[in-house]
């Protein structure tokens, strides 16, 4: 069942475009840094990208994770059930001898695999493009710390998995909306809307500790691994924070899909 779904969702134009974008963005960043004017005093991840090939995926992860990656994973998750409604195939999947739970579960697994693939592609593409253009050097971070290639690579791998996990709340929300609506765009809009609202609220410092509960609050916490002294406590918070969102959204998705009358 998972294999069928994976085949159906992977080999299609939309997935090619989405994943192609994930490969393209780091390349675009690399080219922009290579051919743009080199700033001397700027010390953000972009400005530092030319120091090492491993700097590029860090810049790409920062850039993509706040919006583009959100849209892509929301597209994967939002389409999974709603699109079947739209095609008229949902009723034919559900007249097969298969429980609704199993159908949802296999769809969710495929969404997660594709979302993970999207995140990994950002890092991988950045790493390859960066190394080609800027070489295999130790990494220089915004606060002046230097990491050896090996240490940086390990941290990049953890950062990639962390960013992918940070998307889980968005994926769960999109997936939930997908079980309710018949249009996948609604699910995408819902997820992107939540992200935007969360980002806006997060920027209002007077909200104080409430901001710690916002879904986007710890999305960039992995950057702490590349600081001196490196901090990971925010990453732990970030990992844990997604859990209540994921559980709540998925629980509702399951509950709703089980009691739903399939009229499409």
């Amino acid at each position: 069942m998972i294999r069928v779904e994976l085949r159906k969702q992977t080999f299609r134009m939309r997935t090619y475009i989405a994943l192609g974008l994930m490969v393209g963005i780091p390349i675009l960043i690399t080219l922009a840094v290579e051919f743009g004017r080199r700033p001397r005093d700027n010390k953000d991840l972009f400005a530092l990208a030319s120091h090492s090939g491993i700097n590029v995926p860090l810049a790409a992860l920062t850039a993509a994770s706040s919006f583009l990656l959100v849209v892509v994973v929301a597209l994967f998750a939002g389409g999974s059930v709603a699109e079947e409604s739209g095609w008229g195939t949902l009723r034919y999947l559900l007249v097969r001898p298969i429980s609704r739970s199993r159908l949802l579960a296999s769809k969710l697994v495929v969404v997660c695999l594709l979302s993970l693939a999207a995140t990994v592609l950002i890092s991988l593409s950045g790493l390859i493009a960066g190394t080609i253009f800027f070489g295999w050097h130790p990494v220089l971070t915004p606060d002046g710390t230097v990491f050896s290639q090996g240490a940086a690579l390990g941290r990049l791998a953890i950062a990639t998995v962390y960013v992918a996990w940070c998307m889980s709340g968005v994926v769960a929300l999109s997936f939930m909306i997908s079980t309710i609506t018949d249009t996948s765009m609604g699910a995408v809009a819902g997820a992107v809307g939540l992200t935007i609202i969360s980002t806006i609220l997060d920027a209002i410092s007077s909200l104080g500790s409430v901001r710690g509960w916002l879904i986007t609050h710890y999305w960039h916490a992995w950057e702490g691994m590349f600081a001196n002294p490196s901090t990971t406590s925010d990453m732990v918070n970030g990992l844990l924070l997604q859990l209540p969102y994921v559980v709540a959204f998925l629980a509702f998705a399951w509950w709703w899909f089980h009691r739903r009358d399939i009229l499409s």
Partner: protein
């Protein structure tokens, strides 16, 4: 309105039949009662037509039977097993629900495979050869479904229905949107499958279709069962005749004492009666001989009667 009363199915008798609906009810909202206390039994081997105008609740009833819609009240059984979503007994059923549904960017073949693999069937076990032959799509089977015409999509949907060599076919409006040639093909196919022992439940709003294909029929309107019985009972030997005469009282008296005539009823415009073993011309001769002037003689099918009765906007009580 006349209706042939059958023994209503109960939980106890549900085991022997292919399909049993017991007091099935679906209320979508306060004012939408789609299916109202529907009890129906389809024995193995029957070709059963569910007839009714659009919006009568046919599709909702079929969807409840397949586990797509949760009944508000009542139960649905397939081969004696009470239905819940995704119940394994669905393996023995082939269904067409409100037209075909395919993934547009997959080929016809990949769509069939996707359908079959959902629920864990191995492709080798599928009745693929026969299904493909029936669909008659040739090399187009490897083209994306997006490029198919409506008729091709419908044929692919019927191929999909046949993949599991179903013992029971549940077909919702199987000929809707097809051209006359395609309609004939589909009707022939259903008859052929029935001859090979499959049980068929099809819904239709086309009277002729049910007359042509079905052995049994039920008529629904406003979510309720209006009449049920064999198609012969409903339309065949016992024909209803409608007469307009100059002397209604005398005609009724004469008709009631004639053998082979039953159910003589006075209607606003004339008299309706049912013939059993007597020809229409004999009735006319008899009445004329006895001095009753006849203005109109029209034959009416009971099914048509029932059907027309439904189509008139009855108040929904």
């Amino acid at each position: 309105m006349t209706s042939t009363i059958q023994t209503e199915p109960t939980t106890a008798t549900a085991g022997q039949s292919a399909i049993a609906l017991v007091k099935l009810t679906k209320r979508f909202s306060e004012d939408v009662l789609a299916v109202d206390d529907l009890s129906l039994e389809v024995e193995k081997g029957m070709v059963f037509g569910l007839l009714g105008p659009n919006g009568a609740g046919k599709t909702t009833a079929l969807r409840m039977l397949l586990g797509l819609i949760h009944p508000t009240k009542g139960e649905a059984y397939l081969f004696g097993q009470r239905i819940y979503p995704g119940i394994p007994v669905l393996r023995r059923v082939g269904s067409l629900v409100e037209g075909p549904g395919f993934v547009p960017f997959l080929s016809g073949m990949d769509n069939l495979k996707t359908y079959w693999n959902t629920g864990g069937g191995r492709m080798e076990d599928a009745n693929l050869g026969e299904a493909l032959e029936l669909a008659g799509l040739g090399t187009a089977i490897n083209r994306k479904v997006r490029t198919y015409s409506k008729g091709m999509t419908q044929r692919l949907a019927l191929a999909q229905v046949l993949l599991n060599k179903p013992e029971l076919l549940v077909l919702d409006e199987p000929t809707i949107g097809l051209d006359p040639g395609e309609i004939r093909d589909v009707r022939d196919l259903i008859r052929r499958l029935a001859e090979h022992g499959a049980t068929v439940l099809l819904s239709s709003h086309i009277l002729v279709e049910v007359e042509q294909i079905c052995t049994h029929a039920a008529i629904m309107n406003h979510g309720r069962l209006v009449a049920t019985g064999t198609v012969d009972e409903l339309i065949g030997s016992s024909r209803t005749v409608f007469l307009e005469v100059d002397d209604v009282g005398r005609a009724v008296k004469l008709l009631q004492s004639t053998t082979g005539v039953s159910q003589v009823e006075v209607e606003p415009l004339g008299i309706s009666l049912t013939l059993n073993g007597i020809e229409r011309k004999d009735i006319v001769t008899m009445l004329v001989k006895n001095g009753v002037g006849i203005e109109t003689v029209a034959s009416r099918h009971r099914l048509e009667d029932a059907f027309l009765g439904m189509v008139e906007e009855l108040p929904h009580d």
